[in-house]
């Protein structure tokens, strides 16, 4: 759906269903240089299972207008403003990679609005090496190729896809190339300068599920485990053989883990 926020035309994937703020709202927040397309195999899945799904493109990403936001804190503010503008009273946030930092920051500041959190391939901090930062500024296609290569596990590199005929690497490259030219650079700088993850995570009282990837080269498993340890009610599911892009590589495993977590917390 299209939505106007702060004079910016925002694209929000709703999983093919008409959104209503009356039901259980599930907000998927994409990572650096990504878009709502990170969540192709989550948004439709959850929307057709009774959840009210929102997978927004952050400003300057995907089909949204505007310019990329410059800090994790401002992205968290933007997500909260988006929820307010849609008159949502409570929501579950699910982040991937940089989206985990945004989720942690938003959930720590808004415990009444954010009921629970899902953190996929995340960490408390995501420092970015100088080489990648430089590539994202001066040789964007090389930066994208490097991230897509590092971001996928053995299954991705073998093009062994659950979606018939699809290539993970080809899709990932084109997804990132379609974004605003500054999106990746801005996102990586925002990740690099964000230092509040540990403090914010320690304040999160809400139930939290960390879904981690065994072969993650971008936010390695041990940092994901540290994130889980910092959360007061953190649980961990680790997916074997998965790389950083596990929502695409292992959709069934991610969806099942998330669904079980949501069902469990519903009852608790």
């Amino acid at each position: 759906m299209k939505h106007q926020l702060f004079d910016t035309n925002v694209h929000i994937a709703t999983g093919g269903r008409t959104f209503s703020n009356e039901g259980q709202v599930l907000v998927f927040i994409h990572g650096s240089g990504q878009s709502h397309l990170t969540w192709i195999l989550q948004s439709r899945y959850f929307a057709y299972r009774g959840y009210q799904v929102l997978a927004p493109d952050l400003p300057g990403h995907g089909l949204s207008g505007g310019t990329p936001l410059e800090s994790i804190e401002s992205m968290a503010d933007w997500i909260i403003a988006l929820l307010d503008s849609l008159e949502i009273k409570t929501a579950c946030l699910v982040g991937h990679s940089q989206g985990c930092l945004v989720t942690i920051e938003a959930a720590a500041r808004h415990p009444n609005l954010i009921a629970r959190v899902g953190l996929i391939a995340g960490a408390l901090a995501i420092p970015v090496n100088d080489h990648l930062l430089s590539l994202s500024d001066k040789a964007l296609s090389k930066a994208i190729q490097a991230m897509i290569s590092w971001g996928h596990g053995p299954m991705g590199h073998m093009h062994d896809n659950t979606q018939p005929g699809h290539s993970f690497l080809g899709f990932g490259n084109q997804l990132m190339a379609a974004n605003n030219q500054n999106a990746l650079k801005n996102d990586l700088i925002a990740c690099n300068k964000y230092k509040n993850g540990k403090r914010a995570a320690s304040k999160i009282q809400q139930p939290a599920l960390c879904i981690l990837a065994e072969k993650d080269k971008m936010t390695p498993l041990k940092f994901g485990q540290q994130m889980a340890d910092a959360l007061i009610r953190g649980q961990v599911t680790t997916i074997e053989s998965a790389g950083h892009m596990l929502p695409a590589e292992f959709p069934a495993e991610v969806n099942t883990a998330l669904r079980n977590f949501l069902n469990k917390t519903d009852k608790s």
Binding site: H11, A13, G16, R17, S35, L37, I40, L41, R44, Y45, Y48, G62, L63, S149, P154, M155, H157, M158, H159, D160, N161, T162, Q163, P164, G165, H166, S167, L169, G170, F171, N173, Q174, L175, A177, A178, P251, A252
Partner: protein, 434 residues
């Protein structure tokens, strides 16, 4: 692993990881029409594209998916969808993109069936084509109308061997906001990956070099994922609500893979041009040796050109690697490994000498195929291009005396000896005429 796998590795492995239960190293043939659903929710999810997976072999199949993913990997594409033949791939791609009243700009130098489809069949359904010399860039640009939906051509034309300037024509397509779709059968991804030069959709007849053995017919449509279907209102069946799946918008839901999502949901679902799993398996066996075969094809082609040029019996020879070919410099730049293993030539003595040659060779096979491991010869004017008009023949660069050779992998000494046999028969025919 330290980086992305290279071409030769991908041609052996891409798309397939041995399954945990059986561990089959070779790709298993899933010779089945359908797949057992876990429950009703799982069935509904597959139909609704909430999950990846297979529901009916007309739409997808695990063996065929390996082939598709391997092709996508080799082309640097987002996805590929295999079909029963190269013609099924082209016809379905056009029907997925075009509606009644739409228009195509196409190369005039193409395979007879490609021309026939566009010139004679599609107009009955309200889809018309303007044919343009592929070397005439201004002509291509000028032929584009407001209702034009595709620019289409063959990178190496069959059988005239004209070379399309992919980069330049891709720029024309970008300016017009329409995709560039190319038939890349003659170049294969080993010689050229046109997506890197800006092409958007690729068609292959897998029957030819990619299979290479001449035992299975197949085709594929490759999606570069590099065309913005939402940039204008020309493709509203992709970037607007579709009748299927609660009015799904493929562009918003699947982004770079929007074309493939529609191709599968509409093209495969409604038209049903499916490849058989067994043929997919055969083609996969061929793909494993694509690099090795292409190297040998190129070596033998170079030797054959050396043999033919200046031979007493030969009137003319055409191949893009010869300096007098109009596309020589372009071919060298675009395809440094070679410009394919098809050579066309004419014999002194014209059509009659040509017929004597074709009927006298013994090792080379006289048949309607190209890209086989074995050397093939044919007279296009009386066979592969016999259904197109005399004007289209001239426009397509075909002459009555033209012989097309598809150079195989035999020891070149034997091919050469076989051709000498044919030349002697042609010379005898010529003498009798005198």
């Amino acid at each position: 692993m330290s980086g992305d796998y290279k071409f030769d590795t991908l041609s052996l492995h891409a798309g397939h990881v041995p399954d945990e239960r059986h561990g089959s190293r070779a790709v298993p043939i899933h010779q089945t029409t359908s797949y057992v659903f876990k429950d009703t929710e799982h069935a509904a999810a597959l139909y609704n594209q909430e999950l990846g997976g297979h529901l009916y072999t007309r739409i997808s199949n695990p063996t065929i998916a390996v082939l598709e993913q391997r092709i996508a990997a080799l082309e640097g594409a987002v996805a590929a969808t295999a079909t029963a033949s190269g013609m099924a791939a082209l016809a379905t791609a056009v029907l997925v993109l075009c509606s009644q009243g739409d228009h195509i700009v196409a190369s005039s130098r193409m395979y007879g069936a490609n021309i026939n489809l566009l010139e004679n069949t599609l107009p009955r359904f309200g889809i018309t084509t303007s044919f343009v010399d592929p070397n005439d860039l201004a002509g291509i640009e000028n032929a584009i109308q407001t209702n034009t939906k595709i620019i289409f051509g063959e990178v190496i034309g069959n059988p005239g061997l004209d070379i399309m300037d992919v980069e330049a024509i891709a720029k024309i397509a970008v300016s017009a906001g329409i995709p560039l779709m190319l038939d890349c059968t003659f170049n294969t991804p080993w010689l050229l990956k046109p997506i890197e030069l800006g092409a958007n959709l690729i068609i292959h007849s897998l029957t030819k070099w990619i299979g290479g053995h001449g035992v299975a017919i197949g085709g594929v449509v490759v999606d570069g994922g590099n065309f913005d279907w939402g940039q204008n209102d020309k493709f509203l069946t992709i970037a607007g609500p579709h009748y299927a799946m609660d009015g799904i918008n493929f562009y918003e839901e699947f982004g770079p893979a929007a074309f493939t999502a529609k191709f599968r949901a509409e093209g495969m679902y409604n038209f049903g041009p499916s490849l058989s799993p067994t043929n997919a398996f055969h083609i996969l066996q061929g793909m494993e040796t694509l690099s090795l075969r292409m190297k040998c094809h190129m070596d033998n082609t170079a030797k054959m050109l050396k043999f033919l040029v200046g031979h007493d019996a030969v009137a003319w020879v055409r191949h893009p690697s010869l300096p007098d070919h109009p596309g020589h410099e372009l071919a060298k730049r675009m395809m440094p490994r070679g410009a394919g293993s098809i050579i066309v030539f004419g014999l002194k003595g014209g059509r009659d000498a040509g017929r004597a040659f074709i009927e006298s060779v013994e090792l080379s096979s006289h048949l309607a195929n190209v890209g086989d491991a074995k050397t093939l010869v044919i007279h296009p004017a009386s066979t592969t291009h016999s259904h197109i008009s005399a004007e289209a023949m001239v426009e397509g660069g075909l002459s009555d005396d033209m012989i097309r050779i598809s150079i195989g992998l035999e020891d070149f000494t034997d091919i050469k000896a076989d051709f000498e046999l044919g030349f002697q028969a042609a010379a005898k025919k010529l003498k009798l005429k005198e």
